[in-house]
């Protein structure tokens, strides 16, 4: 099973919807240990993205993901704009000008994305950032991919790991971003950025989990 061009568009749309459904929660998570704009920023960014995506436009998954990334950077601003944007521009480079992506390539793309976020933001695992759901998700995918797992299973493990990772940020002491200013280091609060990443993986799993697009693939 492959991730198709239209899956990718539906992923982004679903991601937008999940963020919209949870925008207040995300703002509130950010208000507690930051400045309260994370949900609004993600929503503004994804609305802009959805507005520029046409039915078959841009015409390859790589180009599409690149457009998603650059649109997020320009429409979001903030800390999350460049970082979440980087997730997509890095994936775009790995995926290239194709109209379907296999699970293995997708995992490599997500690894590149996580590395890119790490380099740009300078954060490490455990710093209470979006990396704390992004990295576990990538590692979970890497652990199962290549066996006889379907794309669905791979993405299921990613979504689960991202969710757990996000929830566990509640225990972490922030060392990066605005939450590092808070006296408590934000211990006791869930990181908004990690929660945003969780929705990104949930959206992808939702879209692929709905099944539908069984093209001929490796698994």
């Amino acid at each position: 099973m492959l991730l198709s061009h239209s899956d990718t568009i539906r992923w982004i749309q679903r991601y937008r919807d999940l963020i919209a459904d949870n925008v207040d929660e995300l703002n509130k998570l950010d208000a507690a240990i930051g400045d309260g704009d994370f949900g609004a920023s993600m929503q503004r960014g994804l609305n802009a993205v959805v507005a520029v995506l046409g039915p078959g436009e841009p015409d390859s998954i790589g180009k599409l993901l690149h457009t998603v990334g650059t649109t997020l950077v320009s429409a979001m601003g903030g800390t999350s704009g460049p970082l979440v944007g980087t997730v997509f521009t890095k994936m775009a480079r790995v995926v290239g000008d194709v109209d379907a992506v296999e699970a293995s390539a997708l995992v490599v793309a997500f690894r590149a994305a996580a590395d890119g976020v790490g380099v740009l933001g300078g954060a490490e695992r455990g710093d209470k950032t979006m990396l704390d759901s992004l990295l576990p998700a990538v590692e979970a995918m890497e652990a199962v991919v290549g066996g006889d797992h379907t794309l669905q299973t791979v993405l299921h493990s990613a979504a689960e790991a991202a969710r757990t990772g996000a929830e566990r940020t509640i225990e972490l002491h922030a060392r990066k971003g605005r939450a590092s200013y808070v006296g408590s280091g934000g211990v006791g609060c869930i990181d908004p950025g990690a929660t945003g990443m969780r929705y990104m993986f949930a959206a992808l799993h939702d879209v692929v989990g709905e099944g539908i697009h069984y093209s001929e693939g490796t698994q």
Binding site: A40, S41, G78, G81
Partner: protein, 331 residues
Amino acid sequence: MKKLINDPAEVVADALTGMAAVHPDMLTIHRNPDFIRRRNSPVAGKVALVSGGGSGHEPMHGGFVGIGMLDAACPGAVFTSPSANQIQAAAAAVATEAGVLFIVKNYTGDRLNFTMAAEWLADDGIPCEVVLVDDDVAVENSTHTAGRRGTGATVLVEKIAGAAAEQGRSLLAVAQLARRVNAGARSMGLALTSSTVPHVGSPNFVIGDAEVELGVGIHGEPGRRRIPHAPVKELVALLSEAVIGDLPFVAGDRVIAFTNGLGGTPLIELYIAAGELAACCAAHGLTVARSLAGSYITALEMAGCTITLLRVDDEMLELWDAPVTTAALRW
């Protein structure tokens, strides 16, 4: 949430419309991407100063655009750093062959976006320097934080660097001076009330009726410590001890003393706080060479203040005194 706004999503756009209406003699407003630019910019031969940050801090930075200060300012969404694209567009609009100086408050978002924009400018062959402002002693300066935040010193850096640029100094000279100003400045703030981001609709945090939040951030970030409310004499003493002890400022130093309101505190209270700050300086043997008191860096309608001290030399004082014609600072 009761504010004089229309749609929360249009707050920045509507405020820009208002700025354009009020200051047609000084500013030109560009929309999509949004930036505020000095009238008749670019100014040939002059290093262009560009700053920006989230909205909600007015008059910073748009109110500092004009002769003797900034060439352009990029307002992000409320409390949200402007995007790299926005910054690039603003810089491109005002850049000269003398280059562009970015004055960036040290927040992760601002750093990321300004740095990206700086790289894009460099790719386009425009010389560009980035100066970080990180004066807030409320944040521990360790590897366990994102580093100190930029607060009150920003106004001082922008004024003094702006005057130097106006004199025709080189990009490197202006950048070096700006870094020197930042290095000699320290700030700390406190809040009596929180503030409400329009699209959130409820306050970022709640401060009890008898409490004060010490070390609060200008984006409504919770501070480091809650203390019982006390006479302003004691509160300003707390802030200034932290500020003075950090650099440290020592007896004999000449300083600019800046008492800044966070948006909801009226001027009568700021004058009282400024008087207490002057008294603290005197008690430490510091000579207040110049003072500034007013709401220049706000956090929406937050009640509270920040205090900033800058150790000055003759050069900085001369540049501080140099003419400036902006919406918020003018002399």
